[in-house]
C-alpha cells in the first residue's frame, strides 16, 4: 500500500518536473539581465523587469496582444455558439445525415492543418482576407468547431432527457425548456469548451505565421518570432521569454478561475442519486 503510494508519488513528481521545468526556465530567463542571460543559473543572479518594460514599450507586442485576445475571443464565441446548437441537436435528435455530420467534424479535427496552409493562403489572398482578423478567425472557427461539438455533445448527453420532458410537461416551449433548464445545466460544459477553444486559438502558430504579414493581425505567437533585440547585436532571448510568460499567464488564470465551473457535479440531484 505505502510502497505503491511512494511509487505513484515519484512518478507524479517526475511528470510535474518534466512539465514545469521549461516553464520555470522561461520565467527565469525573462527576469535576467542581458549580461547574465547565458550564465546557466536557474535562479537569476541579477533580477530585472527590464525585459517586461521593453516588450510593453514596443508597439509590436502590445498590438499583437490585442490581436491575439480579439481574434481568440471572437473565434471562441462563434465556435461555442454554433457548437452548442450542433451538439444539442446531435445529442438529442435523430435527423438524416447525423452520422455524416459527426464524421465530417471528426475528419476536420483530424485533418493535418499544415496541408491546408498553402491553399488557405491562396484563397485568402484572392478574397482579400489575407492579413485580416476574419482571415484568422475563419480557420480558428473551422478547427475549433469540431472540438466544441465533441465536448459539448458529451455534456448534453449527461443531462437527463427527463428534465426536458418535465419542463415541457410543466408548460415550457422547446425554447423555454432549453433556455431555463438545459442551458443552465450545460453551462459548465460550455465554459470548459470555451476554454479549450480559446487555448487552441491562443496557442496557434501555424495559421498566425502563414496568414498574416503585418502587425495588423499578427498574434503574439507569430509576433514573437519577429522580435529583435534593441540593437542588431543584442540577443532578444530576454524579451521573447518575457513575452512568452505574458501570454502564458492569462491561460493559467483562465483555467484556475474556471476550474470550479469545469467540475461537472452540477447535474447531481436531478435524478436519483
Amino acid at each position: 500500500m505505502t510502497a505503491s503510494k511512494w511509487r505513484w508519488g515519484l512518478i507524479d513528481l517526475v511528470v510535474i518536473v518534466f512539465a514545469l521545468v521549461p516553464v520555470l526556465w522561461i520565467a527565469s530567463l525573462s527576469f535576467k539581465t542581458p549580461a547574465t542571460i547565458t550564465d546557466g543559473h536557474f535562479i537569476p543572479r541579477e533580477w530585472t523587469l527590464e525585459n517586461y518594460r521593453n516588450i510593453f514599450a514596443t508597439d509590436q507586442f502590445v498590438r499583437a496582444l490585442v490581436n491575439s485576445i480579439g481574434i481568440g475571443l471572437i473565434a471562441t464565441v462563434i465556435a461555442v455558439v454554433l457548437g452548442t446548437m450542433a451538439a444539442y441537436a446531435i445529442a438529442r435528435l435523430d435527423f438524416p445525415g447525423k452520422r455524416l455530420l459527426i464524421g465530417i467534424s471528426l475528419l476536420i479535427a483530424m485533418f493535418p492543418q499544415v496541408s491546408l496552409v498553402s491553399p488557405l493562403f491562396e484563397i485568402e489572398r484572392s478574397l482579400g482576407l489575407f492579413d485580416t482578423w476574419p482571415g484568422l478567425i475563419l480557420p480558428y472557427v473551422t478547427f475549433g468547431l469540431p472540438l466544441a461539438i465533441y465536448t459539448l455533445s458529451a455534456f448534453f448527453r449527461q443531462i437527463p432527457w427527463d428534465l426536458e420532458k418535465a419542463a415541457k410537461m410543466d408548460g415550457a416551449t422547446q425554447g423555454e425548456a432549453f433556455r431555463r433548464v438545459i442551458a443552465p445545466l450545460a453551462a459548465p460544459g460550455v465554459f470548459t469548451t470555451a476554454i479549450l477553444v480559446f487555448i487552441f486559438c491562443w496557442n496557434d502558430f501555424l495559421f498566425a505565421i502563414s496568414l498574416t504579414s503585418t502587425e495588423r493581425s499578427r498574434t503574439v505567437p507569430a509576433a514573437l518570432s519577429f522580435f529583435q533585440g534593441a540593437s542588431q547585436f543584442e540577443d532578444p532571448t530576454g524579451a521573447i521569454s518575457a513575452a512568452a510568460v505574458v501570454i502564458t499567464v492569462p491561460i493559467i488564470l483562465f483555467v484556475l478561475f474556471f476550474q470550479r465551473r469545469i467540475v461537472s457535479g452540477l447535474t447531481s440531484g436531478a435524478v436519483k442519486g
Binding site: 437527463p160 427527463d162 410537461m169 410543466d170 423555454e176 431555463r180 440531484g269 436519483k272 442519486g273
Partner: protein, 401 residues
Amino acid sequence: MADIVLDKVTKAYPDGTVAVQEFNLEIADGEFVILVGPSGCGKSTTLNMIAGLEDITSGELRIDGERVNDKAPRDRDIAMVFQSYALYPNMTVRENMAFPLKLAKLPKEEIERKVEEAAKVLELTALLDRKPANLSGGQRQRVAMGRAIVRSPKAFLMDEPLSNLDAKLRVQMRTVVSRLQKRLGTTTVYVTHDQTEAMTLGDRVVIMRGGAIQQVGEPQELYDHPRNLFVAGFIGSPSMNFLVASASEGRLRTALGNLPLSDRVRQSLESSDASRDLIVGIRPEHFEDATLIEDSIRQRGVEFEATADLVESMGSDKYVYFTVEGEKASAAELEELAADVGSTDLPASGSNLVCRFSAESPVREGDTARVWINLDKIHLFDPSDGRTITLHEGRSTGVTA
C-alpha cells in the same frame, strides 16, 4: 379535472415495431387507473402518448371531450411525475415547484401561496430552500409530486414514481400517493410494473402485454376472475401455481391426483371446444394444511400428500413449497412471465408448487404433509391460446358452491 378517452390509440415506430396496438380505454373523471405489465409491454409509451411526449400514430386521444392528438404537452394541462423525478438541479425546491406556475405567468403572490400550500400538503415546508442534491430519495419524490399538484392540472400522469425508493419507503409513499389522489380527486394514470402497487392503488387496473390490453377491471376482479393465463400469472404474489391437466370422464388428471370437476366446470368445458389438454391454475392461498380444515368445508376440495421442500414462515402465514413430478405447464404467456421475472434459467425438475398455509400449520421441511385444495377456486386455461375456460359470462365458475 377531466376524463381521458383513448380510442384505438396505436403507436408504431418507423422501423415497423408496434409498441401499442389499438388501445381502448375510458378513464372517468377523478378515477385512479393503473397501467401495469412486464417491461416492454407498452405501458410507458401509452402514458407518454397521453402526455404528448410521443406522437400518436393512429387513433384518437380525448381529454375532457376534446381531441388533443396534435396538441403540445404544455397545451394539454396535465402534470407528470417521472420515475427519475426529473427535478431541476439548478433550482431550489421552491423554484422547482414554482416553475410550472411561473411559466403560466401567474402573479407572484399567487405562486408563493400555491407553493406554500402544496409544500404543506407534502410536508416539504422545511425543505423549500434546499437544492434537490441535498434531499433524500423520498424527499425528492415528494418534490416531484409537489411540482405536479401545484398547478391543479386536469390529470396526473405518473411513470413508476416509486420504483426508485427502497422497499419500506415505497410502501409508505404508496399510501401518500393514494391519499393525495383521493383528496384532490384528480384523474390519475399511473404506470408500474409492480403488481402489488397496481392492486393496492388503483380504482381500476389495466393489464398490458405486448402493446395490447389483456384485461381491465377492479383489482379484486382481476385477481378472482383473470381472463387469461397471463393475467392469472401476473397478478398475485406469490403467483398462481400452474399444472398440466387433462380432462377425462368428468375428472381432471393432474400431478396432484385426479380432481373431480364441478358441474359448471364440466359445462364450460363442453361448451368451449377446448382440447382435452388443459392447464389448471390454483392460487397459493387455496391450498391448506388438511389437518386444519373443518369437516364442513372439507368436501369442497380434495386432498393429496406431498413432501415439503421448504417452509417459509411469514409470521401471519407459512409459505410451503412442494415439488410436483411430471411435466411443467408451458404456454407462451407463462414463458413471457418467467422471462420478465428472470426465472427462465432456474433449474427445476417437475414443477414447483407454492402453498400458503395458516400459521398454525405444524408442517416442517422434509415432512410429508396432507394438503387440501379448494376446488371451488381453481381456474382452467386452454394452453393453446391462454384463455380462461372457467370464466363464465365474466365470472369464473364454482365460486359459490
